[in-house]
């Protein structure tokens, strides 16, 4: 039986330089499709001023001990 392939997933992996070990494509395809189905949920109506959580806070960096 021929394994189902997805050209978009193949391109994603190729561009990332990831070569899946044998036997792992079926699971990758399932999780890829699951992830792709979630992405539209992230995009709600927002203004340009709607900032993300976790914005850059300089204080948290300057307080760290020097490496």
């Amino acid at each position: 039986m021929t394994e189902e392939r997805d050209p978009e997933l193949d391109m994603v992996l190729k561009r990332a330089g990831i070569i899946p070990p044998p036997g792992r494509y079926r699971g990758l395809l399932a999780t890829y499709r699951d992830l792709q189905a979630m992405l539209p949920l992230l995009r709600g109506p927002r203004t340009a001023a709607a900032e993300p959580a976790g914005i850059y806070v300089l204080d948290t960096i300057t307080r760290e001990p020097a490496p």
Partner: protein, 479 residues
């Protein structure tokens, strides 16, 4: 006479101080139970017996000399194997770090050592705290003490199994999307994900920088409170750590729920895939009994669960990919199948996807904290939507059927507590989840203690039957 594994930490502490118990006896009892039971549970990936006995002997000597390091002094604990332990192998349950021996303890480990705790060893996890249960890793998956054919949940799988099996009363886990609360729910223990920023993550291998939390799985609410009291506190070396005093988590623990306003966001779980009638009934019963105990329980509406899930999953996977991308390219075969399949596909997440997720995250955090938790002191919601699935339900090469609703409070960072809520007809623990405002762990644990008393009246004492491990019938995952 109460068996030592059933002694609450506070009671053990009293006996250690009045001389009727020694830390050495307590540690030896845990080591004996591990020797007897962990062959079936497989919760430990490394036992540090010599270290434990040395820690215990030191605690005995100090307590006899009047040196008191606090409530964990002389008390056994164990660490999930993503916590760095100086000079002790820390593998993340992965072939990629199988020889890793850190130079120093993580900050939580340092606090437990300073508090006089007794380290028993390192606990199983899903690989790098994601995926699982897996049979293609250097160590086998931990098994659920209530039924060895069932999973523990993850990723703090060994912590859940070890505490539920009473090999230890408190163990550290980590929670990025539910990895403390999930195994706590499936194994029938208490699991506390503290507020983001209350407990340092320095020296704990990251899964997702902005979602990771460290906290305990414990045999009781009081045990969880004691552990958290010791490990909490500002750490300038953790960028997420918040500089504020650690609240007193213990003195108000018995104050009950009288007058507290508890919101019930049933829109999250009603109709959700995987919700069992038993879990729905347990939540309804709990709401009724909390009201009977004096709480004001009201329906409240939160944003839909799929929004929280998508937001959290995209952030988690994008950040995990950033951590692992070099190894995913160079050593793909060294990852277990489940971790690899989940994280490799995160190469498809764009920068815009990630930023939209972070923008959604702010909106969701506002909805929880500026709306729902303005009117209510706490939220009562589902944790696991059903009892622990069997290993046999998990395909080897695909994500399995673990239905839990813990991600919302990783996204928002609120403290969240997984509580046992009775048993299923099949004899497996059911669960509920309580959520509080940021840094209101004291209130959260107080309500958790009230739930503990209520569910004890349901015939569930967070204590698995002794026969559970008597005749293990191990079933591997489906092929």
């Amino acid at each position: 006479m109460t068996a030592l594994q059933d002694l609450p930490i506070a009671e053990a502490g009293k006996r250690l101080r009045d001389g009727s118990l020694t830390a050495t006896a307590l540690a030896q009892d845990s080591l004996d139970r591990i020797a007897e039971r962990d062959g079936a549970l497989q919760s430990f990936v490394l036992l540090t017996a010599d270290r434990a006995l040395a820690d215990a002997a030191k605690a005995d000597k100090e307590l006899a000399a009047g040196i008191d390091r606090g409530p964990m002094h002389g008390i056994p604990y164990a660490l999930k194997d993503i916590y760095d332990t100086g000079g002790i192998r820390s593998t993340c349950h992965s072939k990629l770090r199988i020889d890793n021996i850190p130079d120093a303890d993580c900050v939580v480990g340092q606090k437990l050592v300073a508090g006089g705790g007794v380290l028993l060893g390192k606990l199983a996890t899903h690989e790098f705290a994601l995926g699982g249960p897996s049979f293609d890793l250097p160590f086998p998956p931990a098994r659920n003490p209530w039924n060895l054919d069932h999973v523990t949940g993850g990723s703090s799988s060994g912590s859940g199994a070890a505490v539920a099996g009473r090999l230890v009363r408190t163990a550290m886990g980590s929670d990025t999307g539910g990895s403390i609360r999930g195994p706590a729910a499936y194994c029938g223990t208490v699991g506390l994900k503290p507020t983001y920023g209350l407990v340092s993550r320095r020296g704990v291998f990251p899964l997702s920088y902005t979602l990771d939390h460290c906290g305990p799985l414990a045999a009781s609410v009081e045990d969880a409170a004691i552990t958290t009291q010791v490990i909490a506190g500002y750490d300038p070396s953790d960028p997420a750590s918040v500089n504020r005093p650690v609240p007193d988590l213990l003195s108000g623990l018995q104050d009950g729920v009288g007058g507290l306003r508890i919101g019930l966001p049933s829109n999250l779980w009603r109709g959700a895939e995987g919700l069992t009638p038993e879990t729905a009934a347990a939540l309804e019963r709990l709401a009724e009994e909390l009201a009977a105990a004096g709480a004001i329980v009201e329906e409240v509406t939160l944003p839909d669960y799929p929004l929280f899930n998508a937001c959290g999953r995209v952030i988690l996977l994008a950040e995990a990919f950033a951590i692992h991308e070099d190894d995913l390219r160079a050593r793909p075969q060294d990852y277990g199948e489940l971790f690899f399949m989940r994280v490799a596909v995160a190469a498809s997440i764009s920068a815009a996807d990630y930023m939209q997720a972070q923008r959604l995250r702010r909106e969701l955090a506002m909805a929880v904290n500026r709306v729902a938790l303005q009117r209510h002191d706490l939220l009562l919601t589902a944790c696991a939507l059903g009892p622990a699935p069997a290993f046999a339900e998990f395909p080897r090469d695909m994500p399995g059927p673990m239905a839990i609703q813990t991600m919302p409070f990783n996204v928002t960072g609120n403290p969240a507590l997984s509580m046992p809520a009775g048993l299923s007809a099949g004899g497996l623990p059911l669960s509920a989840q309580l959520v509080a405002r940021p840094f209101e762990e004291a209130l959260l644990l107080r309500a958790g203690r009230a739930i503990e008393k209520i569910t004890a009246g349901w015939g569930f004492s967070q204590h698995l039957p002794e026969h559970a491990l008597a005749s293990p019938a191990l079933v591997p995952a489906a092929g």
